[in-house]
Symmetry: C2
Amino acid sequence: MIYKKAILPKGFKASALACGLKKSGKLDLALFYSAASAKAACLFTANIIQAAPLKVTKKYLKNNKAFRAVIANSGNANCFTGKAGLKDAQGMSALTAKELGIKKEAVLVASTGIIGRRLKLDKIKKAMPALVKSLSPNGIAKAKRAIMTTDTFAKEITVKFNSAGKTITICGIAKGAGMIAPNLATLLCFIFTDADITQGALKQALKIAADDSFNCITVDGCMSTNDMAMLLANGAAGNSLIDTDRNFGAFSKALNTVCLELAKMVVKDAEGATKFIQIRVENAKTGKEAKQVALSIANSSLFKTAMFASSKNILGRTVAAAGASGVDIKEEDLKISSSPLKKKEVNINVSLKRGKSSATVYTSDLSYEYVKINAEYN
Amino acid sequence: MIYKKAILPKGFKASALACGLKKSGKLDLALFYSAASAKAACLFTANIIQAAPLKVTKKYLKNNKAFRAVIANSGNANCFTGKAGLKDAQGMSALTAKELGIKKEAVLVASTGIIGRRLKLDKIKKAMPALVKSLSPNGIAKAKRAIMTTDTFAKEITVKFNSAGKTITICGIAKGAGMIAPNLATLLCFIFTDADITQGALKQALKIAADDSFNCITVDGCMSTNDMAMLLANGAAGNSLIDTDRNFGAFSKALNTVCLELAKMVVKDAEGATKFIQIRVENAKTGKEAKQVALSIANSSLFKTAMFASSKNILGRTVAAAGASGVDIKEEDLKISSSPLKKKEVNINVSLKRGKSSATVYTSDLSYEYVKINAEYN
């Protein structure tokens, strides 16, 4: 069963509040908590410059296998903040751990927002008692909004499925909007499941799901410094253990659905987007090559502005962008077709006559609003 | 001496008229002619999909060393037009040659405009007698406008210099505006000189000049299917022969000036641009690496919109774009500074602490106007 809202699995709680990191006074601090120890799998941005919370989370993931909480803020990316920034990220974790009465290595950290400014840790410190006190299974309704930046709606989905008589729940929330390009997702995504699953299976399932979802979306081709997709599993469903060779299929399939739906929501809420565009490249030599051509088209500013205008020019712009992809396409083999351009959802089909592989990429158009939002964001 | 207008060198003539390829009725057909045979050097777009006129020009350049004319149209790119398009491009050349009474392989061809529509050769045929009849040294004043698409001003420059008692003239015109990204220039550029120069020296000088000019500019990161830079030399100055090891320096330097000034004008007239941005990356391991980082910044939509808004956010956007360049930058070594953002010309300086090489790239901001122009262009 698919639910278009976030329903936390057994044993998880969440809370959120406005601690003052956002000038607007909106929600900017979220806490996710598991009563039992949870396994974690994470994917991180491929940007060589990584924000402090990513470095801290990576360190904890390396030295520790059991996690209890995630603390996340919006309004400040805590990136390009040097050693002080690292200390602040560790501080976020330590403050949370202290209030929860657990060790700090069990608290993962995430941030999103403006790059290059010091995080105001005192605001987080002040907010912590109330944040922990308000933890509840329904807290996800506020937490999903506390991770948003320029998003206009919260991205949330829950999938429940049966595994040998037990119900397993996978619930995901995400924030996106701008700076969306593979690899990886370049967004913040938190997924919670009560499945009992091995570390290896958890990691593999997330990798599979991300490759066909977060790694297939692009809004502006810009790769963020802060983004991560995190999957926590606390085993509270009491199912018979999932491993890569046992009960894996149903879990993997459900997780694929969660990630793909979240990824599509991110594109639908792309900054200033008026259209949801699906670009399918077929008859490529390899899947990688198909994706390369699809992304070259999806990232072309000229393609995206022509889409915004529903212009017939879209054929020429698609040809030029495909030709610039670096793949050795022959003009006479290149076939391009599209569904009606004036609709809100547009499918572009590209055929290369080079092989039998294909890939699908999701993107948006480029509108006046994109420029407005990104010019004024501060 | 540098002149900010096009002054054709000895022995060259030009003409232009509106033959009806542009719906607006503006100038859309240009002819350039040399009384004496000229040597030619050309650089072409790196897009794998190349328009028909590029294929024809390449063929002529391969089989022939003496040229007399260039025929160029705007309003139609004659690209993605298959075999019919190739025939049309050859037809343009043949019609011109016939009217001039020379062989068609001596007439190079260029087109710019909408991709994917058949060229109306009958309009060019009908215009040819008047086009040839009106050839004159002053015809360049109209020809420079006939190659324009969304350009708001003509790009033109002339450099005259002394070579052992003889005056050599190099005159260049260009069209640009959108779809500007290396490599190469992704524009149309025609340069004429009366220098007496060997084929090898001509080619080498153009390559050197383009590398530091047309290959260092980017507007939207989109690589065109049609663009080329063409340099014709007819020897009419009567100078002592220039070769790669003889009298080369002064010619090369003058050509560098012509190309760099044209390239900067293209960026200044970038679609919707409100700012001219110079990005200098220093202390890189190699020049290539420096350029890679500079282009990653210059092509970032988030960087460009922040520039449009003169936003303080520019630091974070520059960090994120540099980090996404693929170069192994260390956060603690990355130093970024800029001149005042609210000025019309902005310099961004990036230092990597990896070596001693540097590169400069020129770009523009991303404004509402860019979206408007490219959404409505048809």
